[in-house]
Subunit: 322 residues, 2 copies
């Protein structure tokens, strides 16, 4: 037994080397308009421009590419209706192997098609009568596949941390880093990298108001479960933090801010009209917290992870068109 | 009298030096998805990320910043309901002087507000009973202002050419350059730079089908006037090419492609969903021509100017939300 942290800055650096040339080094966007609105220098790390349109590819590829060759040829598996599904599918294709993705039966056709478009096999289940973790594990065991979880894995967390690593390498010291929180993998990796590189940095997680399981858990000092959240931020609809991610976030996250669906919509609209970029609801929560005043003391230099941009034009029109 | 061209590569280089540090050097976007769809290597020069959200700032600032100091202090003027209005307003503010912008009475409130937001005075006129050029010239003469036309000026054209200059400097040889055509200033500047830097390059202009005045004019060998076009590409609703721009384009433009409003919408939607960027209708016509097959022989390496991104979320929802 040891007290060394499960993921370190060295792990994130190793992940950065592992994904180099396969994942994009995404741009850092600046905007005078945004700086004026927020009253700070804001640096947006744009994972909406990542492959598959979200940060998830970093962790999926870092994990899949480290499998033993005899395991890799047998294929990989994941359970996800969202960006992790496409990330694992693309990672498998890049590695010349196959992926099987377990998705709820009622997953929108466009998301199934996108995942199948990367060459993955889709297996569906009934989300009201099945436990995706149990079904996913059984499927993987049955077919001899390596299951890549969406956040509960050190290689996944280290991979997700590479976005913050790139950001700080590029822009230097930041007073605060604001990161969306779902299962907690992105912020666990981000905080691991940021706190090691820049000890004074304040790490702020952002959850949708209806999905405040990590905030409650940090306050309670233990993992708290909430009913499945109803929010437009579908990538952050976790009902309980991960065990591994929570152990990291308990140590490294300074604060959780909450945003309403209206504040998320406003941030998406602002990004569209002023920054000319597309952000999905979950990807916009950190920006929403900054713009809506839900972060109380905003320091001089603030990094923000824009975690994804997968939303179709029709859904954007529904959410932001009025 | 001389036969030397009214705008040369040296003029474009001078403009690039003049706007350096004030205008953005905009990013060049690549996309594997786009390359696969088009069957070529495509390089998108993203002027939607330019200041004021469009290439227009390049020409406006290049022109305004070259005024004699005694003229500059008296202020500048422009007639425009679109991106040129905001470009001239911001150029004036950057130069510490004032701008008066002549706009049709029925200009959308949001565009008037954006222009006023840069500190400009707005003067309105009745577009059905007034000639904007005559009113603009009278206003400028009356108040002692320097009128900056939207395209009929060598400094404006040279400024607009800096986007193509930056693109070719960054990515090297291109087989073709595809550029939206309205009054013809952007393509005149682009073609001037491109043909001088890269003699074999094929310069293709793109107009909305309903606004094909430049195509007709090039075919006729003289400037042809058409009725005011009805198209969603409001930045390309010119009824006749400029005199100066036409003289340049007649010499340097190889081909004009036409696109329908539906093809423009499809390109905007594709840019939104796959590239995660916002493009206004006029800004998307060059991309639309590539995607829709309206350009017949697409060579291996193609540059595309994405000329602007000024569209609000509500209008985008109307055009692309179904």
């Amino acid at each position: 037994m040891t007290n060394s942290p499960p993921v370190t800055l060295d792990d994130v650096r190793d992940a950065a080397a592992q994904i180099k040339g396969v994942a994009h080094r995404t741009p850092v966007l600046r905007s005078r308009t945004l700086d004026a609105l927020v009253g700070a220098e804001v640096f947006l790390k744009c994972e909406n421009f990542q492959r598959v349109g979200a940060f998830k590819f970093r962790g999926a590829y870092n994990t899949a590419s480290r499998l033993a060759p005899e395991q890799a040829v047998k294929g990989i598996a994941a359970y996800s209706s969202g960006n992790h599904a496409q990330a694992v599918a693309l990672a498998a294709r890049e590695l010349g192997t196959t992926a099987v993705i377990l998705m709820p039966q009622d997953t929108p056709r466009s998301k199934m098609d996108a995942t199948a478009g990367y060459g993955a096999e889709i297996v569906t289940y009934d989300r009201y009568n099945g436990d995706r973790v149990a079904i996913g594990e059984a499927l993987a065991a049955d077919r001899g596949l390596a299951l890549i979880p969406p956040y509960e894995h050190p290689h996944v967390i280290a991979g997700q941390g590479t976005a913050a690593l790139e950001l700080i390498e590029e822009v230097g010291h930041l007073d605060a880093l604001v990161v969306p929180v779902g299962g907690g993998g992105l912020i666990a990796g981000s905080a691991t990298a940021a706190k090691a590189l820049d000890t004074g940095i304040h790490v702020i997680g952002v959850e949708p108001e209806a999905g405040d399981d990590t905030k409650r858990s940090l306050e309670a000092g233990r993992r708290v479960s909430i009913p499945v959240p109803r929010t437009i931020a579908d990538g952050q609809a976790a009902g309980i933090p991960g065990e591994l991610t929570f152990s990291i976030n308990q140590r490294l996250v300074d604060e959780i801010a909450l945003v309403t669906d209206d504040q998320i919509r406003e941030a998406m609209r602002m990004a569209f009209e002023r920054l000319k970029i597309v952000i999905e609801p979950s990807g916009a929560t950190a920006l929403a917290a900054l713009l809506s005043g839900r972060i109380h003391r905003i320091p001089a230099r603030v990094g923000v992870i824009i975690s994804g941009g997968n939303i179709d034009a029709r859904r954007f029109a529904e959410l932001c068109g009025t």
